[in-house]
Amino acid sequence: MTTRDVPLGTVQIGICSGHVNYPLYIRSVPTQGELKFHYTVHTSLDVVEEKISGVGKALGDQRELYLGLLYPTEDYKVYGYVTNSKVKFVIVVDSSNTSLRDNEIRSMFRKLHNSFTDVMCNPFYNPGDPIQSKAFDSIVSAMMVQAC
């Protein structure tokens, strides 16, 4: 598939802590629509929570962490992922970004989760603090560049 000049896709990654739902890490490329993204990610937590409770009821010990497409909007697709400790990952991509299918998103989440685990393993990291790890940052940046 040859590429045409597709308007630069937008990817946003948000991570929210377990029960309190405050943001641990939010990053968006490009940054101009940041506020809207924050709203989007925040709102998507509704669906994440709905799905978590739904999964718990229906499929007991299912180990699937990927929640799939949370909800589509006219401009964005919002995907969710939740760790076993109920840390929520949200990826928002431009609807026009067709190169990112379910599988790509899934692997992005997995990569994100691995990196997140590394951050958590850092003994100097205080759980619940916003993530400021440079390593994590660079991995996220790489992922976003790849995705766009």
């Binding site: 598939m1 040859t2 590429t3 045409r4 597709v6 929210c16 309190v20 739902n21 405050y22 943001p23 939010i26 940041e34 506020l35 924050h38 709203y39 925040h42 709102t43 937590l45 509704d46 669906v47 929570e49 709905e50 909800y71 589509p72 909007t73 006219e74 609807s95 026009s96 067709t98």
Partner: protein, 1147 residues
């Protein structure tokens, strides 16, 4: 009818409907016909000919022609039905009965397929034969029809696939292909295989989507051009008809626009899904479709009138919702809000943007340009469809009405928004509900109704605060500020409340790091402007001060006490240095920064647990909680509980100190942070005491402010609140946490006298340290310390005596010489000038006397024994005069009295003494003194004998070895010649002119380390002369290796019975040993009981032995009379050469 299909597809029950059509040659399908629904599947030739002649003449020919035509068209599906009638048969019975017409036909036409010909007998009669023939005919008909159907369907599908494979060829038309595949879908639908029918549409959908995507990626297909025509009609989805023939015709003609195609496709999918009873999939797909269409039109760069898509989406959303509502009951709908709410929200959004576009939201209403747009948009809607034209409510009518006027728009918009919010709330998606609420608030703001807007904004603010989403929080707060500013102008509330609310929000915004500097300065300026306004300028105002929360203004970092102990005496200077971080973007001049102080009078005993939060270096660090933080961090501290009796650790644990904050319900946590706090809650307590700092300019960032703390009264001072006053605005911190306390104490003067050494020794001049804590008392000129003299401890006069004056912190303030005047009774020390709360230290030489009284042997009474007195007690110190009462003795206190006894002649062996004292309790000195007497004996002890022993290895060996005999040499030495006093208790015997005393020795090993070989005890005669030595040798064998202690060697006096013959006592004799051991035991017990023991008692004990038994006796020496040199000695024993058993004993 069961239908088996190729490609291993599962058999299904289907319902196949067939029409009977009269055969015409034109109806036979020509090459390339794609119609499957009208396809002739089975050709049936009906004949009622029962006459052979007729058959041969005409029918056969006709049949042959018919078959020829069929073959020409490649159709192999045919059936010949012969209707037999008994009536006819009866008439012509002569005709070949054997070969019926049926057989003939079979012969002629069905050479191999005999089942292609069926006879139907007497169809109109109700006989069993006719019924049988009917059923066999119908079975056959069904089978053949299905066979043909399957074959043709398969062929059709193959053709379709071929056609699809050609899609890359130029000239391929999607529309044509669409029609073909839809035909298949129709067939499946006809068979009631809705699932399969849906698959066909989904395939078409996917194919089309892929083309659009490819087009977007630059790989355009020609046929797609027709879909790129500008959108001229946006009348939304139409889901009420099973098949929208108008649109289908458009597609068939290749004139459909993208929206037409999508609409048509979706309407078909929707119909099938509803057949399948999956309405919730319809809503999900609808949302996806609408989003997708918007995206695709954007991607294909189709020109669309602005707002047209909004109309289309809005109409479509409502149409889908109506369709779903039409097929579900209410409870079902309510249970599935989560599926429909997306469409509601989408419709709301679209209506809002339409409203914006057409100028229906602004306060002034639409202008002419807006009206033009509205007209254009309405034109694109076209006429209302006939299905809904007569109903009162339809999406079409709704949109038309909403766009017609400002009021109608508002009505519809609010209706939709509230519906969406209700649904979100119902399914627990509160955040989404609040987001809708926020856009509703924006609407209200534009309508100039800030009051309605505020509630929605505050609601959503709450959730952002509780989850600390800073960016949305800032944005929402900014909106609130704008809203509140309008409210302020509108004078809806009493002005001081609206002022307060607005200023609080402004303060929060001014300190918000997410905002740009300009914005922050703007909000800061709002506060400062308000603050500088005088009360008059706003008219008459009763309460000109506005109290705001300090958390938005500054952040406390640290508070440092100087001195660090936070403990000063009355009147001393205590400074508090407060480090705080100003969050304002500009320097703010604070007229007064005051901390109210709570004063609690001195309560003895409470000081132990105070100031847990204060570090030893006198600082209190405030937790760096940002005002938006949702929950405070855990504050854990370790506790240990010791048992009161022996101070042993009872429990240890970890305690959460701020549990009351953490365990609070989450809803209520926001109450602290919400800007709308009633002004009264932040009111400053009018504490009696205040720490104040005036005219401080707080620069952005860190500042440090020094307070001087009041310390007029003794007690505990707790900092409660902090208040910064800027003009009319006060920033109040209602609680200072952690607790900040300092203490002020007041002290009575104290004198402490302490010897430099642990105990004072009698007879030597020694130094005693006098320490005077002045307390609150100022030592004035002429004040003197008076000590009443005692004979036993006179203060020695020393010329050079200087006092050191120390401040309360231990710094040396000065030194000054003391002048000491001694009279007979009193020593007076004039003290230098000393300010209060200082310490005076000086050393004095004292001498402890033991009063020299002549030894009165006759009375043997000692009087006046007090000498040394450790003045641990606090002596009373009143106006510079001290009286030391030496005779106060506290419980558990030891008082030492020293006597010296001198002997003029030979000291007695034992001296009986009595200690007599009279005492009275200190609290009741008037009562008669009680006597106390204690009897004791002073014994003279001199060592008479010394015992030494050596263990030597066997000859030729260096070390002792286990299992080998060693030599033990015991030497007993008399140390002194017994004098006369001793004679009484020692038996001497004269042998060969030499005076000897007899001693018995015994070697016992209590630890089984040694085996004594041969005699272990014996009696020796000691010459009565100093340094007379007697040596005894015996053999012992070590049983273990290692450093073994020497065996015990005990020496006794040996008292042979005078009357009896001297018998060498056999120590191995059980009898004697037993009797001896009894005595021994008694003696040992006695020895343990008292250290001071009169000799007489020993003697009397010895005399208790029955005299009648003529037995030699042994008697133990008194303590100290025998020196045993072997005690504690060890000898190295190596393991024996025999290594079979290796035991090592470590002692």
């Amino acid at each position: 009818m069961e239908w088996r299909r190729s490609y291993g597809r599962a058999p299904k029950m289907i319902y196949l409907e067939a029409n009977f059509v009269q055969f015409k040659e034109e109806l036979l399908p020509k090459e390339g016909n794609k119609a499957l629904l009208t396809f002739p599947f089975l050709h049936i030739y009906w004949t009622d000919c029962c006459d052979t002649e007729v058959y041969k003449a005409s029918v056969k020919e006709d049949m042959q022609r018919w078959q020829g035509v069929l073959r020409l068209h490649g159709s192999v599906d045919w059936l010949i039905v012969v209707v037999e009638s008994d009536n006819k048969k009866k008439n012509k019975t002569n005709i070949l009965p054997r070969t019926s017409i049926v057989d003939k036909i079979r012969n002629d036409f069905c050479n191999k397929q005999s089942d292609r010909c069926v006879a139907l007998s007497d169809p109109l009669k109700e006989s069993s034969r006719s019924q049988e023939s009917w059923s066999s005919f119908l079975t056959k008909l069904r089978t053949l029809l299905l066979m043909s159907f399957t074959r043709n369907l398969g062929r059709f599908e193959d053709e379709m696939r071929t056609l699809r494979e050609k899609r890359t060829e130029p000239g391929w038309s999607f529309c044509d292909y669409f029609m073909v595949q839809e035909e298949l879908a129709f067939v499946f639908e006809m068979l009631q295989q809705f699932e399969d029918a849906l698959v066909q549409y989904d395939e078409l959908d996917a194919l089309f989507t892929q083309y659009v995507l490819n087009f977007g990626a630059g790989d355009g297909a020609n046929w797609l051009g027709s879909f790129c025509q500008p959108v001229r009609s946006w009348n939304g989805l139409l889901l009420r008809r099973p098949i929208d023939m108008e649109k289908r015709d458009l597609i068939q003609r290749g004139e459909a626009s993208l929206l037409d195609l999508r609409s048509y496709l979706f309407s078909r999918q929707c119909t099938l899904l509803i057949f399948l009873q999956r309405p919730w999939e319809v809503t999900a797909r609808a949302l996806e479709l609408l989003h997708n269409c918007v995206q695709e039109l954007r991607l294909l760069e189709v020109s669309v009138v602005s707002g047209a898509l909004d109309c289309w989406v809005f109409l479509s959303c409502l149409e889908v919702l109506h369709r779903i509502e039409g097929c579900c009951d209410r409870s079902q709908l309510e249970a599935n809000f989560s599926h429909t709410v997306g469409l509601w929200t989408y419709a709301t959004e679209k209506l809002k943007s339409l409203g914006d576009l057409c100028g229906l939201v602004s306060e002034n209403g639409p202008n002419s340009e807006d009206l033009n747009k509205t007209v254009d948009l309405l034109a694109g809607l076209g006429a209302e469809r006939p299905e809904t034209a007569n109903s009162l409510q339809s999406p079409y009518k709704k949109l038309k009405e909403a766009l017609s006027s400002v009021e109608a728009f508002e009505k519809h918009y609010l209706e939709l928004s509230h519906a969406a919010m209700e649904m979100y709330r119902a399914i627990g998606r509160l955040r989404s509900a609040r987001l809708v609420g926020k856009s509703l608030a924006e609407f209200y703001m534009r309508k100039g109704d800030p009051q309605s807007a505020e509630n929605f904004l505050l609601d959503s603010l709450k959730s952002y605060v509780s989850e600390s989403w800073s960016l949305p929080l800032t944005h929402t707060r900014k909106q609130i500020a704008e809203c509140q500013k309008q409210l302020q102008k509108m004078d809806e509330y009493p002005s001081h409340i609206s002022d307060h609310i607005y200023l609080q929000t402004s303060a929060l915004l001014a300190s918000d790091a997410n905002l740009s500097d300009e914005e922050r300065k703007h909000f800061c300026q709002e506060i400062l402007t308000f603050a500088s306004q005088t009360a008059e300028s706003k008219g008459q105002q009763k309460d000109p001060c506005v109290a705001l929360s300090m958390s938005s203004f500054t952040q406390l970092h640290e508070l440092r006490f100087r001195p660090a102990s936070a403990l000063v005496h009355v009147g001393a200077v205590l400074q508090l240095e407060l480090h705080l971080c100003s969050l304002m973007p500009v320097p703010v001049r604070v007229e007064q920064l005051a901390a109210s102080v709570h004063f609690a009078g001195e309560q003895p005993g409470t000081t132990a647990q105070k100031r847990a939060a204060q570090n030893p270096d006198g600082t209190v660090t405030f937790p760096a909680a940002s005002p938006v933080s949702a929950s405070p961090a855990l504050e854990l501290c370790e506790i240990q509980e010791h048992s009161p009796s022996d101070n042993a650790l009872n429990t240890a644990g970890v305690v959460c100190k701020n549990m009351h904050l953490l365990m609070r319900r989450h809803d209520s946590t926001t109450s602290l942070d919400t800007p709308i706090t009633a002004p009264s809650a932040l009111a400053m307590d009018d504490g009696a005491q205040m720490l104040k700092a005036h005219d401080v300019t707080l620069l952005p960032g860190n500042n440090s402010i020094v307070f001087t703390a009041p310390s007029q009264k003794p007690g505990t001072y707790t900092l409660r609140q902090l208040c910064a006053t800027v003009g009319r605005v006060q920033f109040v911190l209602p609680h200072i946490y952690p607790v900040v306390q300092y203490e002020v104490y007041s002290q009575e003067p104290q004198l402490t006298i302490q010897p430099l050494t642990e105990n004072l020794l009698a007879g030597l001049p020694q130094q005693v340290k006098f320490t005077i804590l002045t307390g609150h008392y100022t030592v004035k000129k002429g004040d003197a310390l008076q000590l009443s003299n005692t004979d036993s401890m006179p203060v020695l006069h020393s010329s050079k005596c200087t006092a050191r004056i120390l401040s309360s912190t231990g710094e040396l303030v000065g030194e000054s010489a003391l002048s000491i005047q001694s009279s007979e009774k009193v020593t007076s020390i004039s003290l230098p000038l000393t300010p209060p709360y200082h310490t005076l230290e000086f050393l004095l030489d004292v001498l402890c006397h033991i009063p020299s009284s002549p030894a009165r042997v006759e009375s043997e009474h000692l009087t006046n024994g007090q000498i040394s007195h450790r003045a641990r007690s606090r002596a009373r110190f009143n106006s510079g005069m001290a009286i030391i009462d030496q005779k106060v003795v506290f419980s558990q206190q030891c008082v030492f009295s020293v006597w010296e006894l001198r002997w003029s002649g030979v000291p007695p062996v034992s001296l009986q003494c009595v200690f007599l004292a009279s005492f009275a309790p200190a609290d009741a000195p008037d009562t008669a003194l009680k006597p106390y007497s204690y009897e004791f004996a002073v014994e003279r002890v001199s060592t008479l004998y010394s015992v030494r022993a050596e263990i030597r290895p066997a000859a030729g060996e260096q070390h002792c070895r286990t299992g080998t005999l060693c030599r033990l040499e015991v030497s007993l030495t008399r140390l002194t010649e017994p004098n006369d006093t001793d004679r009484s208790d020692e038996e001497f015997s004269e042998t060969e002119g030499l005076r000897t005393s007899r001693l018995m020795y015994e070697v016992i090993d209590n630890h089984s380390n040694w085996a004594v070989c041969g005699k272990s005890s014996g009696v020796v005669s000691m010459p009565v002369a100093a340094m007379a030595t007697h040596k005894v040798q015996m053999e012992i064998m070590p049983l273990f290796a290692g450093q073994l202690p020497f065996p015990n060697i005990r020496v006794f006096k040996y008292l042979p019975h005078h009357a009896s013959v001297v018998i060498q006592p056999d120590t191995d004799s059980c009898l004697e040993n037993d009797s001896l051991s009894v005595l021994d035991k008694a003696l040992e017990d006695q020895a343990d009981t008292a250290s001071l023991r009169s000799r007489g008692s020993v003697q009397s004990l010895g005399e208790q032995q029955p005299r009648g038994v003529p037995m030699p006796k042994r008697q133990a020496f008194g303590p100290g009379q025998v020196f045993n040199g072997t005690q504690g000695r060890q000898v190295l024993v190596l393991p024996g050469t025999d290594h079979h058993v290796l035991e090592v004993n470590v002692t």
